[in-house]
Symmetry: D2
Subunit: 365 residues, 4 copies
């Protein structure tokens, strides 16, 4: 399978460049009978949309998604769903400054060597603009999972040096950062204002959570649920690290304290992040991802031109000073797509399975 | 595709349980003409083998691999390669203590709910014993990559609280931990001795590196090279976190400092870990993974039995107090398999590509 | 992988229903640097287009294809190519006659049982309308193959009882049947006129040929080139049989006569149809497919309604009396997609292979 | 995915050469809880085994299969099943006659050009010997399907010029040809005796049937059930044609007669062969395949040597004068594997689907 498809039984295939005519995706394998509308998808697209606060790029994209197939009389038919978003704000621009040089820490150099040449307009296919389609496709998965009792949500757990210390889901959607800690929001605003002035960028950490999980999702030994979640999240632009549950904190932990004990009333902790032996345990899925600071900054950097000569580059134009800010809906989408795929795969193989042991609660009271 | 296969053009499919008759794998897609012997595979198997020091499980497995097909007159034929390791030390054991209860933080509970029942002998398919086949298959990939100038190596970068502070490749194979810092080895020995006495376990961090990389490997947008490395490493037993390059350190980094600048003499740093936009840059691939402490400890833990009633469990028998110690060859194997697959995929699509820009050195002098 | 994708390294994924808003496809894995325009695709779309003669359905579709991504400055970039055709002639129609009953020999009954419900407008996803996207995607493969010296062409070898007895490639595009035998064209016209009057339909046989083949394409043992050609052709609407080379004629042949002998000047015959052991031999690929008569006829037939009660159905409206007539470009497209995929896969695994035996000509003079 | 794997959710991956150490397969995705023993597999292996009558090759292989994993306490666990058959009759032989020349109509020439070199011992991987593993793997699928009420069976419908004219399932296993027409058996014996004396070979036609089918299996639009059956059957050694239902007979049929009408009491005919729009209708699946005469005959044939020079070849040694004779169990296995895969895929996507229309009987009384 080529690289623009994710999933095996529930699949998403996408196309589209930053400054091309349109972005699109085909969602295949969605069960029939799911009520879905363009508005359902638009909700998440609007959460990801640029230009909704001064802390994100000022490119103005309506990101209006059309459902072109696979839905009949308001419900999925079980056949492939075509999605389309037309690019409206392809502002005519002078690309002469980046056309002939490689921006450091961008895909410019690697695309050139992979493909011989590249679409230099705004990064072409390597632009995070393509994640709009992931969000649209993920919204279908999220809705289906919701009807199965599984809720996928995310938040920004750290912006640069500022960590969220409280998790209040009601706060997440009330601020432009998806920060779950109301006390930290003003600090983040101050930080971002200073950052914008300095022309620099910063990294971030996003956490995604799935609640209401059934046990049993995930396929040993290579397509473990956590392995596929890592694949899905590491595949988001700018992500450089993924953790499940305790993640790197487990390196210096000891087993007697780290293990999540089991009681009839529920698991006593969730260091595992909801996955044991690559299979969901019924505990909440908890995954974290680290996003690097974008290298599109106003401070000149050393690079080479397409002939291999030394030169400098500076990124002007519209850019996100922290790409992590808009990444929460993308991470949710990728987690939802992964869970959806595994839900269908699990059913396919294990539709008739009955386990005599009762399912215990996700966490002890 | 079902879950016991990894890769798309170069694939590895495996079978085998901890206490079954044998483990096996089929390596498909290996180019013809590669000189390969059972001894080539045995080298890495012996590096992973249990019982080679007092710090690992005392289970004694010869782990002798046989090549059953796909190699003719000492060279690969291009057809599928069958590999087999017979289990020899299936010590008859009393399983009554774990047969009817779920060990916390193990796959017991999740396998039971996924499949209705489970092979309780030593964890069955969920046992890390299956990783022997990954190492055998990975040795083929490593050898092929080597002939292309790509070297895949790994080391233990942290054992519990003890971090390696120097990277001396010559030291790695001289101690039972794969520690690259000779000064830390005695400290690790002391720590492990104390840990064994306490009956507890501890986590670890492993780093894998590929040098001699060509630019261009990796498929946008979902099968990015880093996404597939994350999938491969997170799919190793006990792994809970994966980082590429700077990983989670990029969260509070700023773009002006974090970006790896480019000069005709080479990249000035490697925070990216060798991957830009999901495609290899020619810099060294650097990935880290966190392994949790195994929950098989001598300290009793709370759990439930298969009827859902509260009970306790204690793990006696032969176990690794730090599963990370033997994980270095496994991580190398998974990285090699992933690179090999992407090398073939890249060639398939881009065999004729010429880029006019010269390939710059992995790092500036 | 879900069912709307074909290919592994060169993939085509499609969506769209007969009476939906649009049809679309994503072509992934196409090598970069291929010059391609919408006009290139339109040529084949126009060959398949309905309404070009009185012998096909009078539905009027412009079938104008748009390339939405993956092509930059006239050349493929190596990233995914988005294609779109808007449905323009979705004539408002009274579906009450077929909405509540299953047309015999159609997908109505099977879609209803697979998905619980169905899009009854013109067959929805089961309509041959979706093959427009195959033709568009196939045109890309055809053009790439052409640049590698491989030509994919097809013709109608039999229409109902009338067999083409001569193969003159120059004749194929000069008549509405893609018939390669000029002498049979008037007979076919007479036959079709009578058929249309009778309100009945008839089957057909299509032959596709690839010339200029290199030896070596095809993957043992399951993804043989002939197996994948069979998959591609049998997956076309209304196809019920596929032959490679001599096909069913080999059942009563004897080996001493049937075998294609090899001389330094070329193969002496081509009963194998260009494939030996699942791998291309360099001879021409020759495949045949049988298309059933559509059951959309004006003669009433027995069926049941959606409640399971006995009823009758008659198909009025715009239909092809012989779906085989427009099937030639579709068959070419499917063969081209399959060859393209195998060309890339072969290169991926065997890029460096040199065989000391010279390649012999496809056929002896 | 590389070429030695078939299926997507239920997969079979195989290895092994004619004269290698062993053949093996990994069956992945089999639901847990299926009672399966080595004896279950041996039944079909013995049906395919060479040397059971004087009409097949006299190579003596025990073909004893071992189950190495995936079965615990007599039942499948849901994890990957390892199968192994050791080659016992690798009679030491003088290969000098075929080592340096290409047998016409064999894979010799194509393997050489694909891989640069080849395993010349008995055809290596291209030998039909590998089909033993298909039969072993298929036996697992057959047993599972049986428990779902689906029976997969096959027979020889034509041997050279001799057609079976009656279908009596009770006769099939009582003669060495799998011929379902007792009256034709003596004729076939006489024919084969004469053929053996002449040193020639002949083709055959095999028919496979699945009864007890549920409607709904198959994935539009590329992975149609019939497309995947065609892929599975055309991928068997020596197969050159595949038909579903009426097959090529539909070319000169008219729609009003050809369509299978539907009544509440059942379908009135089965020209469709049980598949409509690529999805099973509940009618019996009926597929035919044509096998070519093997070119391993005692009559000298023209060919080239590995340097490209003209030479002759004659095949001595142990060969099947009609490879079709032993092909019935192989065809059954491939059909069973395909149905099994689609059964699991269908369940995965459509587990909850309810269709209000009752399922009608496969055929009207």
């Amino acid at each position: 399978m080529s690289g623009n498809t994710i999933g095996k039984l529930f699949t998403v295939t996408s196309f589209g460049e930053s400054h091309g005519k349109a972005l699109g995706a085909i969602v295949d394998g969605c069960p029939p009978g799911l009520a879905i509308t363009e508005e359902d998808l638009q909700v998440d697209l609007d959460r990801r949309k640029p230009g909704t606060s001064k802390f994100t790029t000022q490119r103005r994209e309506g990101d209006e998604v059309k459902i072109l197939s696979g839905v009949f009389e308001g419900k999925t038919t079980g056949t492939s769903i075509g999605l389309l978003i037309e690019n409206t704000d392809q502002r005519s621009k002078d690309y002469s400054k980046i056309k002939d040089r490689f921006r450091p820490m961008h895909a410019d150099y690697t695309y050139a060597h992979k493909y011989g040449d590249r679409d230099y307009r705004g990064g072409g296919r390597s632009s995070a603009r393509e994640t709009a389609m992931r969000v649209a496709a993920g919204a279908i998965a999220k809705k289906y999972l919701q009807q199965q009792g599984i809720e996928v949500r995310g938040y920004l757990s750290q912006l640069g040096p500022i960590k969220a210390e409280k998790l209040d889901w009601d706060v997440v959607e009330t601020n432009p950062f998806f920060c779950p800690d109301a006390d930290k929001v003003p600090e983040m605003e101050t930080y971002m204002n200073a950052l914008r002035k300095s022309g620099d960028s910063v990294g971030a950490k996003i956490t995604v959570v799935a609640t209401g999980m059934p046990p049993g999702l995930g396929e040993p030994v290579f397509d473990r649920l956590d392995a596929d979640i890592a694949h899905a999240l590491m595949g988001i632009n700018a992500v450089k690290g993924v953790e499940i549950g305790a993640g790197f904190d487990c390196v210096d932990a000891v087993g007697s304290e780290h293990r999540d004990e089991i009681t009839p009333q529920g698991f006593t902790s969730n260091n595992a992040g909801g996955v044991l032996g690559g299979i969901s345990s019924g505990q909440d899925i908890v995954a974290h991802m680290a996003l690097k600071p974008t290298s599109s900054v106003l401070i000149p950097g050393e690079t080479i031109d397409i002939d291999g000569n030394s030169t400098e580059v500076i990124t002007t134009g519209r850019h996100d000073p922290c790409v992590g800010i808009r990444a929460t809906p993308i991470a949710e989408a990728m987690l939802a797509i992964t869970l959806m795929d595994h839900l269908l795969r699990h059913r396919g193989q294990n539709a008739d399975v009955q386990c005599s042991t009762p399912v215990i609660p996700a966490s002890a009271p």
